[in-house]
Symmetry: C2
Subunit: 196 residues, 2 copies
Amino acid sequence: MPRSEHRERAPRQDSRRAALLDAAAALFAERGFHAASTRELAAAVGMLPGSIYCHFPSKSDLLVAVYDEGVQRIEAAVERAIDGVSDPWERLEAACAAHLEALLDGGAYARVVVRVQPEDAGDAVGALVALRDRYEKRLADLVAALDLPDANARRALRLLLLGALNWAPHWYRPGRDAPRTIVRRFMGLLARGETP
Amino acid sequence: MPRSEHRERAPRQDSRRAALLDAAAALFAERGFHAASTRELAAAVGMLPGSIYCHFPSKSDLLVAVYDEGVQRIEAAVERAIDGVSDPWERLEAACAAHLEALLDGGAYARVVVRVQPEDAGDAVGALVALRDRYEKRLADLVAALDLPDANARRALRLLLLGALNWAPHWYRPGRDAPRTIVRRFMGLLARGETP
DNA sequence: TATATAAACAAGCGATCGTTTGGTTAAAGT
DNA sequence: ACTTTAACCAAACGATCGCTTGTTTATATA
């Protein structure tokens, strides 16, 4: 072996990084970024405040990591949901249902994405905006597959649905209607091109 | 005069309270509650940090005052917009347009209502939730005037529109489509009972 | 077993937070 | 003219913030 390349295999590296990320996601989702202190976060995972910086260079970087994981989870849930579905409207509905489920019944990661504003990350604003844009572009593709009159209608439908879904954490109560049911009712309100 | 009742006329009372409230609304709307410091607020109105407490007992009370004013302004704008309009769907569209205009082109007060979460107010959570509920009940009345199939559809339509409107500050850019245009497009996507 | 290194501790840095206290000013009431 | 008082200043309080430094512990490799 010329140079030891077995270094990034990380034998026992970052053993508690996952726990730290989980706790950060929960705390950011519940209190918001600024109201969540690194001390409370450290206490949640059972370490001292300074130990956090063994795993992340700053609080903002921690947010970026949580945010990235959140976007990834939503994307993955959506891709899984629309897989095998061919009808464009059904694909959109499945995507919305997956999106809403990730936000409401899913972990705290997804909720951070709609709770924390990118500006809170300080210098890392761009990173968060890029992540959000990447996902929304994916959603735009699903809307583009519908036969809507024009680009204005496509944009309006995307923003209408995205807003309605992302606002749901404000009024959703776990005991009542399931995310799937909510999305079905939302889609039922829309006027599709069909006149059977 | 048995007892002097001319006390609440406030001759020169709270002369700069309005300026303080304006600055607080702008700051809370832009940065969020926790990220907005009382020192920055004081600097914005040209006074020292401690002088704020001549007008408000705490930062939370300041938020409540801003929030209250915000809800009042939205309510007033909506009432003004639907006045004289009789058709239920037109009334709803006018209300949504007024709501969105208040959020986007209106002052910072309305934006605080959808930006700051009631939990940030600490002990005054209940006050903010009550204000928000009061307005949303008013919006529910407008939806109830439509002839929709059932209560589920009414609830879904209310939450769909409310979420879409309240999320708009995240993507709205002043140069582009006007709030009225946006709402018209949103309403155009909905399936109404009419089959003419 | 000896060494290297990741992970965490222990302690505290400077900065900033919301807020308090006591004094000053100037205008309004009598 | 005297008193009152709202408005504000000046200065600082204790608490908490994100973060740094130096050291210790534990584990895996050699």
